[in-house]
């Protein structure tokens, strides 16, 4: 039907000629002498976006942490680093209190640097999946929260530029909020040497290099994770590049084809203190970031997919949870997990640290290293990774709609803990059994399972209790992080130390003495059976205490979150 001014008519599909060569042929519209603007691209678009994004990030973090805690977080980091700097003398054996030859052989500087860069790389790998974040922002932009990362859907801003600005923004944000306070803490530690006469082996000259090296490691992790997520979002065949790359890299490392400095660029820079290497490494990170951005396409489709009913079948399967609201919410959470496709990503991200632990177990076993680590040493760590999984669970969907339902925040938090346990316990169980097989410590398996599950339940209960529905934002809240640190490190450390009394105890008691004399050929000469029994009882007692603590936190959830509103 044609009318002057506007013509609009639907056609049948069989009338349409599918000719891709016509796609660029002009249709004959005109701007009617209106001078058309060219959209900003490249640097101009980046500079218009970057600072606003930085401001947005600050506000996002402040919203949860509030100003006081937000300031306290870097102060806390600086304080912990200052104390660590002072304690370095004991770690590297420079303390005057360490007089014996045995005690003086503690950690090498290289080991300490490695211990600094590896966790930083792991952290940044976890934080850098910007392509996933961008996609989520686009999909959820019609919801209650909207972010600048979704701006390209509506504004003349290339999606690739928005993502690159986000990458640089995150890098700068972490440098300001995490790395700089850490380096400031080191400086305070050194300063105490001249002011209070406290000795530290760290020198002023190493501070800027440490800062620069950490920035490189952080940038490297963010860039690699960005690249992997961008490849994943492109679909096949790009999807398989990422895993193939990781496997190839793992094999190459296993075969000793790379040394650590070539994998951890920041570590390499810190070792060589070469400015050219530092600049090249930073440039390489930026290039990887740019390539990742270029892989992001202007795709703002929110797919409309019809699915078969999943909620009621899921609800029926959860009969063991009773008939209360928790069962309903758990069923809904599982539907979210499956429908969003997050179950795959989350399972992989949960399993990767466990694989690393399994690799470590293999390495320690393979090299017959004189370290008294056994199956029970790994068990608490297997439980520790629940924090990440719980964090993911809280960002799957916006819970604001629940404000209008007869539900309370503690019920949702509890449901998420239940989902965590149901979704991950089998993975942890498989890994602990694999480790028992790898280390040939079947005898310690039952105790390890108890320790692992007790720790796992406790860590997630503690995370849920302290951080509620916003664990990602709570990491910048100093008061919460202090309690989290105290609540996790103490039991973890106790269980880890007590584990040395179990498993293969042939080295126990004089392991370091023997190792320092005989190296890899070290053998046992003595151990105390009563200490083994006490250690066992201690571990079981701590595990039981953790289960009780979890039950208490479960109960206290109402007091802490009972009046909170549904929001993440």
């Amino acid at each position: 039907m044609n009318v002057p001014g506007v013509n609009v008519v639907s056609r049948d599909w069989d009338e349409v000629i599918d000719d891709q060569s016509m796609i660029n042929r002009p249709l004959g519209t005109s701007a009617h002498e209106q001078q058309l603007h060219e959209p900003l691209r490249g640097w101009e678009a980046f500079s218009a976006t970057f600072l606003v994004m930085f401001k947005e990030e600050g506000r996002k973090s402040l919203e949860f942490a509030k100003k006081r805690q937000m300031v306290l977080f870097p102060l806390l980091l600086a304080l912990v680093t200052a104390i660590t700097t002072i304690g370095l003398q004991f770690l590297v054996g420079d303390s005057s209190a360490q007089v014996s030859d045995i005690e003086s052989k503690t950690f090498t500087w290289q080991e300490l640097r490695f211990a600094l860069h590896l966790p930083l790389l792991m952290f940044s790998l976890g934080m850098g999946t910007f392509a996933f974040m961008g996609h989520d922002a686009i999909v959820q932009r019609a919801g209650t929260k909207n972010y600048l990362l979704a701006a390209p859907a509506l504004q003349p801003l290339p999606n690739s530029v928005a993502h690159f600005a986000y990458f640089i923004k995150d890098l700068c944000f972490y440098v300001v909020l995490i790395l700089s306070p850490v380096v400031a803490g080191m400086a305070i530690g050194i300063l105490l040497e001249s002011l209070a006469g406290i000795l530290t082996p760290l020198e002023w000259s190493s501070v800027p290099w440490t800062w620069l090296a950490m920035i490189i490691t952080l940038a490297q992790g963010l860039a690699i994770a960005f690249l992997a997520s961008a490849l994943w979002m492109r679909g096949r065949p790009f999807t398989i590049f990422g895993p193939l790359l990781v496997v190839a890299l793992g094999i190459a490392i296993g075969l000793g084809k790379f040394d650590l400095s070539s994998i951890l660029w920041g570590l390499g820079v810190q070792n060589t203190q070469n400015m050219l290497s530092a600049l090249l490494a930073l440039l390489a990170c930026l290039i990887v970031g740019l390539i990742s951005s270029a892989l992001i396409i202007d795709d703002f489709d929110v797919s409309v997919v019809e699915r078969t009913e999943l909620f009621m079948p899921m609800y029926q399967r959860l009969g063991f949870l009773g008939k209360g609201e928790i069962r309903l919410i758990v069923a809904k959470e599982f539907v979210d997990l499956f429908r969003s496709g997050s179950i795959k990503k989350m399972t992989v991200s949960y399993a990767i640290p466990l694989l690393v632990l399994l690799g470590m177990a293999w390495l320690v076993d393979f090299s017959e290293a004189p370290i008294p680590i056994n199956l029970l040493s790994y068990a608490p760590f297997l439980g520790f990774f629940g924090f990440n999984f719980y964090s993911w669970l809280t960002i799957l969907d916006s819970p604001e709609f629940m404000n209008g339902l007869p539900l309370r925040v503690p019920q949702l938090i509890r449901a998420k803990v239940v989902v965590y346990f149901l979704a991950t316990s089998w993975i942890s169980l498989i890994f602990i059994v694999l480790m028992a097989w790898r280390l040939d410590e079947w005898g310690a398996l039952p105790t390890s399972i108890i320790v692992m599950f007790a720790n796992s339940i406790y860590i997630v209960a503690l995370t849920a209790f302290l951080m509620g529905l916003r664990p990602n934002k709570a990491i910048f809240d100093a008061s919460i992080m202090i309690w989290f640190w105290i609540g996790t490190v103490i039991p973890l450390l106790l269980l880890f130390l007590l584990s040395f009394t179990q498993g293969d105890v042939s080295l126990y008691g004089n392991w370091w003495e023997r190792a320092s004399q005989d190296g890899l050929a070290a053998t046992a000469s003595m151990y105390d059976q009563s200490m083994v029994e006490q250690g066992y009882i201690g571990m079981i007692a701590i595990s039981v205490a953790l289960i009780f603590a979890s039950a208490l936190l479960w109960k206290l959830m109402d007091r802490r979150w009972g009046h909170a509103e549904f929001s993440n």
């Binding site: 002057p4 009617h32 058309l36 947005e56």
Partner: protein
Amino acid sequence: MVESLAPLVMAEDMAKKYGDFVALHPLNVEVHAGEFFGVFGPNGAGKSTFIKLLTGQLRPSKGRIEVLGVNAVTDPQKVKANIGIVPESESPPSFLTPVEFLEFVAKLRTVENLSEQVKHWIDWFGLEEKRDTMCKDLSKGQRQKVMLAAAFIHKPKLLFLDEPFANLDPIYQRKCRQWLLEHVKNGGTIFLCSHVLEMAERMCNRMAIINNGKVLAAGTVKGLKQSDEETLEDVFIRLVGRSIEEVERFSDEGVKDGDSEEE
């Protein structure tokens, strides 16, 4: 084609599918300058998909789209740079204030006299007191005003509005309506999507009714009516495949259900 007669917006066989689900069947569209054109339809009819395809927010599964002489499929950024879009449900970024968001948009769109323009639109929408409040803390109506201001700030000749007044109070509905009518009078062109038929009668000089991703009818508001007695609501109900009696029966059943519950 003579320049002055050339349409501003044109699409040929434009269609959108999500897997097997057809959101919009193939469609040919031409919108000329000076039109106030409205697309109306029930919920889920394909109105938003229609507008998103024309504005480069979505890639079509088939067909070609051109706006202001720019290919919207291959260069959606340039299309977005030269039109104004008010989305149906999208809010401004939660953690920016209205002023910051408008500054960001004005910078991206290289608006001259940026500060003046931002102040003008903040004042125009009565957001002076909320200028420094983060958008997440604004009411729905205030957020809608910010989105409208962001669409108007670069003075685009061509505007695409998806349910633009959904959350506005009657005062600002009237104010915006008058501004939009004035805009068209001054040579602007508006493409509007809504399910509020009152808007068609008050504002549009032409309209189309769509359902299930297909255009059912298009023309002037008067031309779509079969008789003087027929209201636009009657036209709508007739075209989307319901009889007036059927709809009235639904209403009666609803009242009866309500009565019996009370009893």
